[in-house]
Amino acid sequence: MRRSAPRPERCDGADAAAMLGLILRRIGSTVIVMTVVALFVFAMLHLAPGDPAAVIAGDIATQEDIARIRSKLGLDRPLWEQFLVWLGHILTGDLGRSIFSDRPVVELIGQRIEPTLALATTTMLFSVIVAVPLGIFAAWRAGSWVDRLVMSFAVLGFSVPVFVFAYVLIIVFAVNLKWLPVMGYVSFRDDFGGFVRSIALPTLALGVTYIALIARITRASMLEVIHQDYIRTAHAKGLALGAVLFRHALKPASVPIVTTIGIGVALLIGGVVVTESVFAIPGVGRLTVDAILRRDYPIIQGVILIFSGIYVLINLVIDIVYTLLDPRIRY
C-alpha cells in the first residue's frame, strides 16, 4: 500500500489495466496456493511412516486387505503418475471413494454440507453483528471500564476452548434451564423455529473465539482512525454519533477488519468440526471425526481440499472486492 500524491478520482485506461493486472496476479497466486495444498495432501499420505496402504487398512488388516487397498488407491504405480492421475481426478470433481462405505467422497460430503454451512453462516453473521459494535464501542470509550471489559472478554474468548464453552452452555441452558435442546440438528427447510433453537447454542459456542478476534481488530483499527481531523470535523458539524462512528470512521478502518474476518474463517472451520461433534450435528465435521476413527483417509483428504478451497476462495474474493472499492490499495 503506497500513498502517493493525491490523484484525481477518475478511472482512466492505465488505471483499469493496472487493476486488472493486480486482480489477475491475485488469482494466479491463489492457483499456486491450491496446487501447494494439493501437493501437501498428496505427499502426506506418502510421507507418513510405513506403507500407506497398511496404515489405511488399520491394525487388524490381512495381507489381502492391504493389497486390495493398494491397487484401489493406485499405490502400486510410480509416484509422479499417481499425483497426476489424482490431480486430474480432483480437477474433474472426483475426490475418490470412501474406504469404509465405498461411496464417492463428493457425494458423502454433499449429503453433510448443509448443517455445516448453516452453522458457519449463522456464526459468522452473529459474530460480526456482535463484535463490530463491541469493538467500535471499546475504541470510542478507550481506557474506560467498558473497554477493559470488552478486552478482558476477548482474552477469555481466546482462552476458553470451543468445546469447553459448548459444554458450559449445554449444562446451563439445556440440562438445567431446559430452554434449548441438548443436541441434534433440525433443517431450516423442515422447521425454521426448530432450526433456530437447534443452532442457537452451537452458534454461541463457536462464535466466542471469532467474536474475540473481530472485536479486538475492530477496536485496534478504529483507534487508528478515530483521532483524525475529519472525524472531529464530522463531530463538530453536528452529525449524530452513530453516523460518525459507523459511517465516517468504520469505512476507512474496515480493511483490516474484513481481512481478519476472512483469515478467521480458518479458525471457524476448525471450530465447526469440534462444535458439530459436541452437539451431534450431522455435518461435514462429524463425517471427518467418524473418518478418523475408521482411518478413512480419502474422506479426510477430500474435506481438507474442499475446506481449504473455500477458505482460499473467500480470501480471494475479499482481496478483489477491496482492490475494486478502496483506492488506497490500488495505488
Partner: protein, 292 residues
C-alpha cells in the same frame, strides 16, 4: 596522559525489582503466577494427587465431588482430581514442545529465507499453502495416518504452526537487511553466517518470544481438541481432552466430568495468553495479534 579522552561510561540504569515490574504489569503477574503453579503441579503430580489416576473402582463410579474425591469419580470410578492433576503434564509438555520446535524451525527457515531471494520465493509459496489448510484438519490428517502417541501429536500440531513463525521472522529480517549496520557488517567482510547469528538473530528475539507464547496457548488448545475428537493423546494417558471425551456421554448426570478438566484447560491457556499479551506490551508494542 591519554591522547583520546575515554568516552564517559553510561550511568547504569537503576535496576527495578521484580516487585515493581509485577505491580506495573498485573496481568503478566497473574499469568506468571498461574503458570508457575501449574508447572509445579505437573512436576509434583504424584505428591499432589491423593489417588492413582489409573485406579479403577467400579463400585465407586460417577460419584459427585466429596471430601474423599474432591472432583468426583468418572465412569470407571477413577478419581477425577488425580486425573486432572496428571493431565497438566500432557498439556504443558505438548504446549512447551510445540512452542520450542516451531520457534526453532521458524527461526532457521525464516532467517535463511529472508536473506536468500531465490529460496524465499519457493519457501513462501509452501508456507502460503500450509497456511491455507485449517490447523485442526491438517493435524487430524497427519494423526490419522500414523500411530497415536504424544510424539505424533506434537509433530502434527507443530507443522501447522510453522508458517506464521517463518513469516514473522522473515518480515523482521526483511526490514533489518535494508539497514545501515548490516551494510557496514557486509563491507567489513562478515559472512552470511555471522550476519545472521550476530546481527539479525538477536533483533528477532522479542517478537519471536511473544509469538512463541501464543503458539504455546494454541498448541494446548489443539491438543485438547484432538484428544477430545479421539485423534490425539492415546486414551490410556490422562489428558484433559481425553477426560472430556470420556465424560461427554455422562453430560446429563455428571457435570463434574466435564467442568473440572475444562476449567484446568481454560486456566492454563488463559495464563499463557496473559503472559503473551504482557510480553507483547513490554517487548514489542507494534506486534499485532495474529493468533488463529
Amino acid at each position: 596522559m591519554a591522547l583520546v579522552e575515554p568516552l564517559p561510561v553510561a550511568e547504569p540504569v537503576p535496576q527495578r525489582g521484580i516487585a515493581f515490574w509485577l505491580r506495573r504489569y498485573p496481568t503478566v503477574a497473574a499469568g506468571l503466577v498461574i503458570l508457575t503453579l501449574m508447572v509445579l503441579v505437573a512436576v509434583f503430580a504424584p505428591w499432589i494427587a491423593n489417588a492413582d489416576p489409573g485406579q479403577i473402582n467400579p463400585r465407586n463410579r460417577l460419584r459427585p465431588p466429596s471430601a474423599t474425591h474432591w472432583f468426583g469419580t468418572d465412569h470407571l470410578g477413577r478419581d477425577v482430581f488425580a486425573r486432572a492433576i496428571y493431565g497438566t503434564r500432557v498439556s504443558l509438555f505438548v504446549g512447551f514442545s510445540v512452542a520450542l520446535l516451531s520457534t526453532a524451525i521458524g527461526l532457521s527457515v525464516g532467517l535463511v529465507s529472508g536473506f536468500l531471494r531465490r529460496l524465499d520465493a519457493v519457501v513462501m509459496r509452501v508456507m502460503d499453502g500450509l497456511m491455507a489448510i485449517p490447523a485442526i484438519l491438517l493435524a487430524i490428517a497427519m494423526i490419522s495416518l500414523s500411530r497415536a502417541s504424544i510424539r505424533t501429536v506434537i509433530v502434527a500440531i507443530t507443522i501447522p504452526e510453522i508458517p506464521r513463525m517463518v513469516r514473522l521472522v522473515r518480515s523482521v529480517v526483511l526490514t533489518l537487511r535494508e539497514q545501515l549496520f548490516i551494510d557496514a557488517a557486509v563491507s567489513l567482510g562478515a559472512g552470511l553466517g555471522r550476519i545472521l547469528s550476530v546481527h539479525i538473530l538477536p533483533n528477532t528475539l522479542a517478537p519471536v518470544v511473544v509469538q512463541a507464547t501464543y503458539v504455546c496457548a494454541s498448541a494446548i488448545i489443539i491438543e485438547a481438541i484432538l484428544s477430545f475428537l479421539g485423534a490425539g493423546t492415546p486414551p490410556d494417558i490422562p489428558s484433559w481432552g481425553n477426560m472430556m471425551a470420556e465424560g461427554r456421554t455422562y453430560v446429563l448426570v455428571g457435570w463434574w466430568l466435564l467442568l473440572f478438566p475444562g476449567l484446568f484447560l481454560s486456566l492454563v491457556v488463559l495464563a499463557v495468553n496473559l503472559l503473551g499479551d504482557g510480553l507483547r506490551e513490554t517487548l514489542d508494542p507494534r506486534l499485532r495479534r495474529a493468533n488463529l
